[in-house]
Symmetry: C2
Subunit: 103 residues, 2 copies
């Protein structure tokens, strides 16, 4: 359960997550059209798997991928928490940023 934000820090990995959010898929289905080689894809999948964002089950020669919602929730919860905080402090900001506040 190793830092889901790291997993989401690359656009290709977010793309994969987006597709899997619509439902499970094989590697081919979930990763076509990103314009990189297969080894590159394989590494991105490894990151998603290591961070616990994606689960993989090998069936025949295909690998079936699915999102692991618990881990994704950790990141989503953090964002929600931050948002709740910052939305409360709009008014304070401008004042703080100008020098008018002497102390």
């Amino acid at each position: 359960m190793n830092d889901p934000f790291r997993a989401l820090s690359h656009p290709i990995r977010r793309g994969i997550v987006e597709r899997l959010a619509a439902g499970p898929a094989t590697v081919g289905e979930a990763t076509s059209g990103f314009g990189v080689s297969k080894p590159a894809i394989s590494k991105h999948l490894k990151v998603l798997e290591e961070t616990g964002v994606v689960k993989r089950v090998v069936v025949g020669r295909t690998h079936r991928l699915s999102l692991e919602p618990d881990v994704m929730s950790l990141a989503a919860d953090w964002m929600d928490r931050q948002r709740a905080l910052w939305e409360r402090m709009f008014d304070v900001v401008d004042e703080y940023l100008k020098e008018d506040k002497p102390q």
Copy 2:
């Protein structure tokens, strides 16, 4: 407005964001106690600023930092969207992952 997720991919930068979510602060206030040198902090701040997550106003010899909620919202919205999707497809998953689904 360059990939807020990249900005959030490092625990120190998330720590800085957490503190700024509680209200604006100077560099010293927002970054004390992370156990790294000042140049390291300075680089993290640069990333947060380049990605648009944090705004900086130089006042005297101090730099006042504040969160840029619009950019943070982009990331938060994305997470909300994903969450809304994956929460709808719980039931389909297990079936897909087992071989029982032949076609």
